[in-house]
């Protein structure tokens, strides 16, 4: 399988198929990135689209200094940060649609979402990048412009906090279901 970096270089040289391949690989992850951070599905779609358009427009300036994945998520992260700033009057940027609209989610998913909402914003961001975007510690550090040790400590605290938030909830749900 051709690496992301090779594909983006091929696209710089004019290969349309290379970008199509990259788009195919990252379409769903990038949409998921925004979908997990925003309430509005349509807005998440717009921002995912805008992220790929930014990659397209800036292809001439792309330099293979970091992995393509880091590059792509750094663009997405900037888009999301901008969206947070615009919606700063809203204290919870995480997707919190009404339960009725999210009935398709499993109970576990619903409790995970609610638990994540309660996390500290910085801890939550590191956790989301690790668990859902599958970024390495180094990639998260580069993207958030923080030291790797900070990433590790934040991630650990986030997981421990989430565990304490999830366990009673899950047990409670199980009690209710019983």
């Amino acid at each position: 399988m051709t690496s992301d970096e090779q594909l983006i270089l091929d696209f710089q040289r004019g290969s349309q198929a290379a970008f199509a391949e990259l788009f195919d690989r990252y379409r769903q992850p990038v949409f998921g990135f925004f979908r997990r951070r925003l309430r509005d599905a349509a807005r998440a779609e717009e921002l995912a689209q805008e992220t790929f358009l930014v990659v397209l427009r800036g292809i001439e300036r792309y330099e293979p200094r970091a992995t393509f994945r880091t590059y792509l998520y750094s663009i997405a992260f900037k888009q999301a940060s901008g969206e947070y700033r615009r919606a700063k009057h809203d204290p919870v940027p995480i997707s919190t649609e009404p339960v009725a609209a999210a009935q398709q989610d499993s109970c576990d998913a619903l409790w995970v979402r609610r638990a994540l909402e309660k996390l500290d914003e910085q801890h939550r961001e590191v956790l989301l990048l690790r668990e859902y975007e599958q970024l390495s510690y180094d990639e998260i550090a580069e993207l958030l412009k923080i030291p790797v040790n900070t990433v590790r400590s934040r991630l650990f605290r986030a997981r421990m906090e989430l565990k304490s938030l999830l366990i009673p909830e899950v047990s409670e749900i199980k009690k209710v279901s019983l």
Partner: protein, 452 residues
Amino acid sequence: MTAETHPVEREQLMAYLDGELAANEAARVAAHLQECAECQRLEADLRSVSAQMLSWNVEPAPAQINDSVLAALHASPSQQTAKEPWNLFRFLFQRRIRIARWGLAAACVGVAAIILVKVFVPSTTDEFQRLQLESKVYRAPDQKAAVNSAPEVTGSGEPRREKLKVEPSLLMPAPATPAPPPPPEQLSMRSGAVAKLSQMAKKRADDFASADQILLQPNAPMIARTASLKISAKDFQSARAGVDRIITSFHGFAASMTINNAVGEPQSLNAELHFPAAECNAALAALKALGRVEQEQQGGEEVTAQVVDIDARLKNARETETRLQDILKTRTGKVSDVLEVENQIAETRQKIEQMEGEQKALHNRITFSAITLDLHEEYQASLETNAPSAGRRIRNAIVDGFRSAAESSIALLVFLLNAVPSLLLATVVLFWPARWAWRKLQRASAGNTAIA
């Protein structure tokens, strides 16, 4: 669990589970995990959290993303460059446009700079032409006539005021040059004293060939004389003619002369006159005879030390130059040495010329005394009423109104010509940031609406 009681930190264990440890470190943590029940519980917790998080799946990405991104991909210049020469041209052309934007901005800055320079800094060419013209005027053959001729009358609506600036070095007459005889009609002086004194001065002028030879004798004190006279005359015109005659008779010249013939005011003449030092007293006496002396002041500055000093320095510099030239002729050496000697000769020559200029200026101050003359007419009350008629005043008001309107229009045009390049430049500079900010603002409002 602390580092003291436990060989593996909890964060380290988490990094191991995430595959973030180096191989040797990972092996150590794995070995420890086999034996430590506490770490096994932590492992189970961490895996449980990750597993629960993975239960949150998002819906599939909408197809609209595909459409819009792929449409943009088809329109992107990057993938077109490899296909057709025409597309390659378009790609390059689009890049050119970006470069052209910067070029346009740079051109605007350049144009604005040129306009500003043109508006605020006078053209060096014009200045050069003006200097050339002045030089031609000063070097006119009849230089004395330029001083003695009747001054030109400026605009009829303003007081008649004139100023003749004469460069002393160019107008300095030779002491032995006989003065042209004054016209008989100008001899109508207040008394015959001026004519008599002029004859005396002429006689005395024959006694010396050059003022320099007398004044610059060794051991004689060298004085740069100055004097100022304020004289009121009853008949201004005859007094003014007398000034011209005195200048001619005593071999002097006027460095500057201003005559005021304004209507309703007493006529006056202000001049800075220079006379040979030997004839200064006679000239002063002649000038005093033009009318009633209201104020007189005389002064003298001894410049012997300065003259001696500059003469000595000049002599030394000339000797140094001669020695250096001898060295250059007789000695041989490296090219660098020769060049150094030549440089020194050039420097010495420059100093000599500078000192010669100073010496000449100093000698001029000694040989020619400066007299500042303030000649004015005694006040005479006039019964004439020169007030213009009502019709004339209305006509003048109309003309002035049109003139001021025209001047205002020109001033407005000049202001626009000055300001428009700057405004254009500011527009070019601020257009893109403003456009970006406006779009961002619009997007923000749209986003807020969508989120709300």
